[in-house]
Symmetry: C2
Subunit: 303 residues, 2 copies
C-alpha cells in the first residue's frame, strides 16, 4: 500500500566533529521518503526552488520516490544549517532560510488521496500545525496518519499542535518535546497524556538511547542499534519515521506486532543514516542490508 | 556457586518528588546482596556501627544473606543523604558521613575466599580503589571479579581506578563515568577503551535509558524495563549489579548468552527497586515476580 509524505525538501550545511558538508541534500520529507522507499512506493509532496539540483531529483526518483507532488516554485530552496557538539546529542541550528517552503503551499495531487490509488498511509513531516491541519482538511481520511512535531511549534502554536493531535493516529516526537507538551517528566506518563489528546500511538525518540512506543495496551522500550562511528545525526528521526511508516505501509495494518516490528525497522534504518553525512549511507543500502542488521539486532536482544 | 560482595551498608535519608524517608536501610552492598539473594547464596562483607538496627540485620539474614563478614565496629554507621530533582535523573548528594565505613577496614573471613567453599564470584561495590586493591590482594583469585566505580574516584584517584581495572574481569559504571574515564563521548568507544585497560566485560548504566554491555565480540544495548511510577531511584545501579551477578553466580560461567540474560535480570530487578523507597520493593518480591517480569520484557522485545 502506498505511503504519502508531506514536508520539507532542502539543502543542508552541517558541521560535526567528523567534518563539514555544504548545501547537501536534506529535509525531513527527503530522509523520510528515501528510508520508506526501501519497503515500497512513496509519494513525496513538497516544494523546492528553481535552484534545486536535478541530480537530487534523479536520485530520489531512482530510489522509487514519486515526485509528481514535488512542486518547483520560483525562488530558492529551503536551507538549513547546523552544528553538532562533540557529544552529538547537542545540535545548534545556525540558520534557517524557509525560502519557497515558507511561501508556497504544497499541493497534493488529487490521485494521491482520492480514488482507488489513494495512499492509505500519510506522514506529516515536521512543519507548522497550520499546514498539517490544511493537509488533513484536504485529504480524504486515509487509514493511518502519523505526524512529527518540533519544539518550535510547541512554543509558538500549542493550540495548533493539540488540534493536529486530535485528528491523527500516531505522533512521533522526541523526549524533550514529549515532556514539554505533556508537562510531565516521566516519558511513559507523558506519552499517556499525549494519547489522551487523540492519537492511539505515541512514539518518543530518545536519540542515542532509542525510542519508546506507547499505546493503550503496551509500552515497548527499544534501544538504538549500536553505532560506533556516528558521523552525522541529521535526519536520524526522519529516517527512523520513514523506516517505521514504510514497513507499516508495506505490511498493512498497524497492530501491536506490526508496530513493534516497524519500530525495529525504523531503528535500524536510522542507525545506517547516521553513519555518513546527508543521505550518503541511505543511498548505498539495499533492503537486504536492512534485513541483515535487523537479524543481528534480534540476536542481540534475544535472551 | 556463591557470590561475595564487599561494600557499604548504611542508613540513607532520601527526598524525591514522592516524599522523604529518614535513616532507612541503604548502602551499595545492601542493595546488591538483597537483589543477588533472589538467585542464590550471597556473602556480604562490610562494616556497620553499633547503632545499626538489628531489624536490618534480621531482614538481610532472612533474605539469605550471609552476614558473618559484616563487622560491627564501635562508632556510627555510614550515612548518606540525597535529593532527587523532578526529572529523577538528577541526584544531589546532601551529605555523606563515612563514620565506621571510613575508619575500619572490612575483614573478609578466610573461608569466603579460600578452600572448597570459596566464592568464585566477587563484586567490589562502590568504594575506594585502594580498598578494592587490598581486597584483590587478599582474595585468592576467584573466577569472576566485577567492580563498580564512581565519579569521585575517577577524579581523586584515577591511577587507583586504572590499577583496579587491570585486575578485574568486569566493570559496571554509569555513562557519565565511562565518558570521563575514557575521555570519549561515544559510549561504545568509551567501553572499548575501558576493555583495553583489562576487563573483558564493560557494562555502562544509563539510568532510565537502560544499559550497554560491551565485550570484545558483542555490543548489547538493553533498554530499561518501563516503569511508570518511579518513586526512588536510590540503589537502582546496585540492585541492577546484584541481579546481574546473582544470575551469573547461580548459572555458572559468564559466556555471551549468560551475560545477556544476566543483563536482563539486573534490568528487571532494578525496575522493581525504584518503585518504592529504600529496599521496600525488594523486600516484597520473590523469584517468581522477577520471572514474570522477565517474561513480559521478553515479549516486549520480541519482533
Amino acid at each position: 500500500m502506498s505511503l504519502l509524505v508531506v514536508g520539507s525538501v532542502g539543502l543542508d550545511t552541517v558541521e560535526t566533529p567528523h567534518g563539514k558538508v555544504e548545501e547537501v541534500l536534506g529535509g525531513a520529507a527527503t530522509y523520510f521518503s528515501c528510508a520508506a522507499a526501501l519497503f515500497g512506493p512513496v509519494r513525496l509532496v513538497g516544494v523546492v526552488g528553481t535552484d534545486f539540483p536535478s541530480e537530487h531529483r534523479d536520485f530520489l526518483a531512482r530510489r522509487g520516490v514519486d515526485l509528481s507532488g514535488l512542486v518547483v516554485a520560483p525562488g530558492k530552496t529551503f536551507r538549513w544549517s547546523g552544528r553538532y557538539e562533540p557529544d552529538m546529542n547537542e545540535r545548534r541550528t545556525l540558520s534557517i532560510e524557509l525560502n519557497v517552503f515558507g511561501e508556497v503551499e504544497p499541493q497534493i495531487p488529487r490521485e494521491f488521496f482520492s480514488g482507488e490509488n489513494a495512499s492509505p498511509f500519510l506522514f506529516l513531516a515536521n512543519g507548522s500545525p497550520r499546514l498539517h491541519l490544511r493537509v488533513l482538511d484536504r485529504v480524504e481520511r486515509p487509514g493511518f496518519v502519523v505526524a512529527d512535531t518540533m519544539d518550535h511549534w510547541l512554543e509558538s502554536d500549542r493550540e495548533g499542535v493539540l488540534a493536529v493531535l486530535s485528528r491523527i493516529d500516531g505522533i512521533v516526537l522526541n523526549d524533550a518535546e514529549a515532556r514539554v507538551l505533556a508537562g510531565e517528566h516521566n516519558l511513559i506518563r507523558a506519552a499517556r497524556w499525549i494519547l489522551r489528546q487523540g492519537p492511539s500511538v505515541a512514539i518518543v525518540k530518545k536519540g542515542e538511547h532509542g525510542s519508546l512506543l506507547v499505546t493503550e495496551g503496551e509500552i515497548v522500550p527499544m534501544p538504538s542499534y549500536p553505532v560506533e562511528n556516528v558521523v552525522d545525526p541529521t535526519g536520524a528521526g526522519d529516517s527512523f519515521a520513514g523506516g517505521l511508516m514504510g514497513y507499516l505501509a508495506a505490511n498493512g495494518s498497524p497492530g501491536p506486532e506490526s508496530l513493534r516490528r516497524a519500530l525495529v525497522y525504523g531503528t535500524v534504518i536510522a542507525s545506517f543514516n547516521i553513519e555518513a553525512f546527508s543521505l550518503d549511507r541511505l543511498r548505498e543500502i539495499e533492503r537486504r542490508d536492512v534485513e541483515e542488521r535487523v537479524e543481528r539486532f534480534r540476536r542481540l536482544l534475544s535472551f
